[in-house]
């Protein structure tokens, strides 16, 4: 939402219509509020909770497996209960959401920052440059991101010691997911760039000998970035799911700095033993987070560019 409003393209759209459409879509409002709350809780975790769930020294094993506050045996100090190590579930979810969001957003930023330049170059130059870039994108697009991410993770796991791997796990994951999803952004940007290329103002800019790079950055980019950002919103949701899935499979985020997916994997072994809250709340948070981001993305797409898929 906010990043979108920065772009010039936003200005081209009637403010009035956007606000109206937003205010008349209760689902979007709820989703936005939920997203803002989750962002706030995730990034304000260190202010909002007294617990530091991933500092082992602060854990009390004797407080493990406490149910949520409203259940018998629950305690208002641990609103959503504790897990098998005595970690406060609510705090773990807040920090876990932070990891999930960071991975989701950074990996999409990476995809976008690979995809947009390549897309603009392909669309602007056309010819063999276009063919080369887009053929490559097509090939990569046929392989699902999750598989590419798994491969990259598998390779780093093989080549790095476990100690180093743990340190670089999050960057590796961001790179894996980021590298795996650039083609779709390149595609969208390219089609936009192809349209812009033919416009008069570009010809004018060329006439006064504006450098090509400047034309791309100053003229083409602002015109193609809008649709790309809409897709990127949904991309964040997809990236969060990929991260959670990899972590669930045990090849993603290590359990020392768990993401929501890791929390679900850990909690999953308590699914049948009655300690449902350990896996339920992280899973619920993940679903709500992804759903909210998807809803916002859907709304953005419908409002600004109904033709996008």
């Amino acid at each position: 939402m906010k990043d979108v409003s920065i772009s010039k393209w936003w200005a081209g759209v009637s403010d009035h219509d956007v606000t109206y459409s937003f205010l008349h879509s209760p689902v979007t409002i709820v989703a936005t509020v939920a997203t803002i709350l989750m962002f706030a809780a995730a990034f304000g975790a260190s202010f909002l909770t007294i617990y530091t769930p991933f500092d082992p020294g602060s854990l009390e094993l004797r407080e493990a497996f406490m149910p949520p506050a409203w259940e018998q045996g629950g305690n208002s100090e641990h609103l959503l209960g504790t897990d098998g190590q005595g970690r406060d579930i609510l705090a773990a979810i807040m920090y876990g959401t932070q990891v999930s969001l960071v991975v989701g957003i950074l990996s999409v930023l990476l995809s976008v920052s690979i995809g947009i330049p390549l897309g603009i170059i392909a669309g602007y130059y056309g010819g063999w440059v276009d063919t080369a870039i887009m053929r490559f994108a097509d090939i990569q697009l046929t392989i699902p991101p999750i598989l590419i991410a798994l491969m990259i993770d598998g390779i780093t796991r093989t080549t790095l010691s476990s100690e180093v791997h743990e340190i670089v796990a999050i960057p590796v994951l961001i790179i894996s997911i980021g590298v795996a999803s650039w083609p779709q952004y390149a595609r969208i940007t390219r089609s936009g760039a192809m349209v812009e290329r033919r416009k008069d103002y570009i010809a004018a800019a060329k006439l006064i000998q504006t450098p090509t790079a400047a034309i791309m950055v100053r003229h083409v980019l602002p015109n193609v970035i809008g649709p790309t950002l809409i897709v990127a919103t949904i991309g964040v949701a997809v990236a969060i799911i990929i991260e959670a899935t990899l972590s669930f499979l045990g090849v993603g985020i290590p359990s020392t700095t768990p993401s929501l997916g890791t929390l679900i994997r850990i909690g999953n072994s308590f699914l049948f033993s009655g300690e449902w809250w350990i896996t339920f709340f992280p899973a619920f948070t993940l679903v709500i987070l992804v759903l909210s981001v998807n809803l916002i993305g859907d709304w953005l797409r419908d409002t600004f560019n109904p033709k996008l898929r």
Binding site: P56, G57, S58, L59, G84, E163, T256, N268, L271, S273
Partner: protein
């Protein structure tokens, strides 16, 4: 929810191309559906010394000496035996026994099998390394000659399975599979033993089907009614429990302990428990001059027994027992269990108390008032809740100022760290198949012990350990064993945690004796 276990012949429910697609139920079969966490890595009975491999082997093979459900040694393929002189044992073999392919069993097979277990590529060498020679007296009599008197030969032979010489030669498997070099041989996926079950089909990691051996000599002794065993390894804990809860399997020998309550409260299911012959402990590297993963350089803090004591006092074993183990563990002060020769209750029941303040004081005394950092190597799929115990430990150590990085990984990788002696601080569990302290001394207390990653040991201790290998007189032997333990208990190279409990979860209509080796023998089972 619970069905009477379906024992329809598979052919009966197949919708094959047969003329009668849904034929009337063929004669009911008793199918025992068994699940555990992981498959046997090989079916070659001499290639790998691991619990699951032995468990698979024992269903299809017999040894000369076997155990009954109370763990007593009973005749197996040997009907009787006697100690002719301290170094010579004579065995009378059971007559009329045949292998699954119909070949008769005789002395040649015994000699072949023992030699095979002694081969370079065998990992069962430890059970037969005192044997100098095996002599054939006649077709059904053999003599085993040991280098020195071996008080535990019979206990060792329990794990040495008899193979068919002709079959092995025919299929070019006279040597055991070289497991380390990832060799692939016929024996990895095929068996020909004399045992209670024949291998019907094998799909590694997926499904192994065993069928009753109608010609088994033990069918009289062990009256079981199992016609078929379907063994499905299920790695995922939740899935494994779900399979039991939904009635798709009859027996789990490694139910996740957090789910035991839920299993107990499910209709038609029961849980049997017994103390296991396995103790879980941490090992310290007390030998290296510098730790591999620590901020302390140039000196190894673990060499200082105060540091080891500090760690000991920092472990809240009761909390681990209650929370992580759900009460299913017996806190230990010794790394062996009550039935083992050498065990003393006064040691085992008197752990160093949980006392973090004392820990801090000890660390300060040792010169580490602010603690230091280490790495804890831990398996994550070997012992009950292994990773969770280690995680809890990380928290407890943090409270005394020790910053611990947890390196939890699958057992294969973990064990290669331990046997490679490349670890500073690690979790290990140990069980004693021979029921004698000598076994653990050889592996863990002798400075050359193959699993002694702590590097613990001294020439005096090594000498004592070597000495008892040849002493047959129990009193004299036990005296030295006592001396060794006294030293070990004082030095704390290993920080004992607890003795594991075994729990088997199963359907109520299954009757199978639970035993402390955690090795179900399906020929002891009965399905109602």
């Amino acid at each position: 929810m619970f069905f009477k276990t379906k024992r329809l012949a598979i052919a009966g429910i197949m919708l094959g191309t047969a003329a009668t697609p849904l034929a009337a139920p063929v004669q009911a079969e008793n199918v025992l559906r068994y699940a555990n966490v992981g498959d046997a890595a090989t079916l070659d009975p001499h290639a790998l010394n691991s619990l699951v491999t032995l468990m698979a082997g024992i269903q299809m093979h017999d040894a000369l000496v076997m155990r009954d459900p109370t763990m007593r040694k009973v005749p197996g393929l040997a009907e009787s035996w006697e100690n002719i002189d301290p170094n010579t044992w004579q065995f009378k073999l059971r007559e009329g026994v045949t292998f699954h392919n119909g070949n008769p069993f005789n002395a040649d097979d015994v000699i072949f099998s023992i030699k095979r277990a002694q081969a370079d590529t065998s990992q069962m060498k430890g059970y037969v390394n005192t044997i100098k020679d095996v002599k054939k007296i006649d077709d059904y009599t053999i003599q085993i000659i040991t280098e020195k008197p071996n008080p535990i030969l019979l206990d060792q032979l329990v794990n040495v399975f008899m193979m068919d010489k002709e079959w092995a030669e025919e299929h070019d498997v006279a040597e055991p599979q070289n497991f380390k070099e990832k060799q692939e041989t016929y024996a990895v996926r095929h068996t020909n033993g004399t045992g209670a079950f024949k291998l019907e089909s094998r799909d590694p990691d997926v499904r192994t089907v065993l069928v009753r051996n109608e010609d088994w000599w033990g069918n009289e002794t062990y009256k079981h009614n199992i016609d078929k065993v379907v063994w499905t390894p299920i790695a995922n804990d939740s899935t494994r429990v779900a399979a039991l809860l939904s009635g798709e399997v009859d027996l789990l020998t490694d139910p996740p302990i957090q789910d035991l309550n839920r299993i107990l409260t499910s209709k038609g299911l029961k849980v049997d428990k017994t103390a296991q012959l396995r103790t879980i402990f941490y090992g310290f590297d007390v030998k290296s001059d510098e730790l591999r993963h620590s901020n302390i350089k140039g000196v190894n803090p673990f060499k200082d027994s105060k540091v080891r004591q500090a760690f000991y006092h920092a472990i809240d074993i009761e909390a681990i027992k209650r929370v992580v183990m759900r009460g299913l563990a017996v806190p230990a002060g010794m790394v062996i269990e009550p039935p083992i020769n050498g065990y003393r209750a006064e040691w085992d029941e008197n752990r160093l108390a949980y006392d973090p303040e004392k820990s801090k004081a000890l660390l300060a005394e040792a010169g580490y008032p602010d603690g230091f950092s280490i790495q804890l190597d831990c398996p994550n799929n070997r012992y009950q809740n292994d990773e969770a115990i280690c995680q809890a430990t990380v928290g407890m150590l943090a409270k005394i100022g020790i910053k611990t990085r947890l390196n939890a990984q699958p057992k294969t990788q973990h064990f290669s760290l331990v046997t490679g002696k490349e670890t500073d601080f690690y979790m290990l569990g140990w069980g004693i198949p021979t029921m004698d302290s000598g076994f653990i001394f050889d592996y863990l207390m002798h400075s050359g012990g193959s699993w002694n990653a702590s590097g613990y040991g001294s020439p005096e201790l090594d000498a004592k350990i070597e000495e008892i290998r040849g002493i047959v007189d129990p009193d004299e032997r036990n005296k030295i064993i006592g001396e060794i333990w006294t030293q070990v208990q004082e030095d704390i190279p290993y920080l004992p945690l607890h003795h594991q409990m075994i729990s088997w979860a199963m359907t109520r209509n299954l009757d199978i004796p639970i035993e402390p080796n955690n090795m179900p023998r399906f020929y002891w089972a009965n399905l109602k």
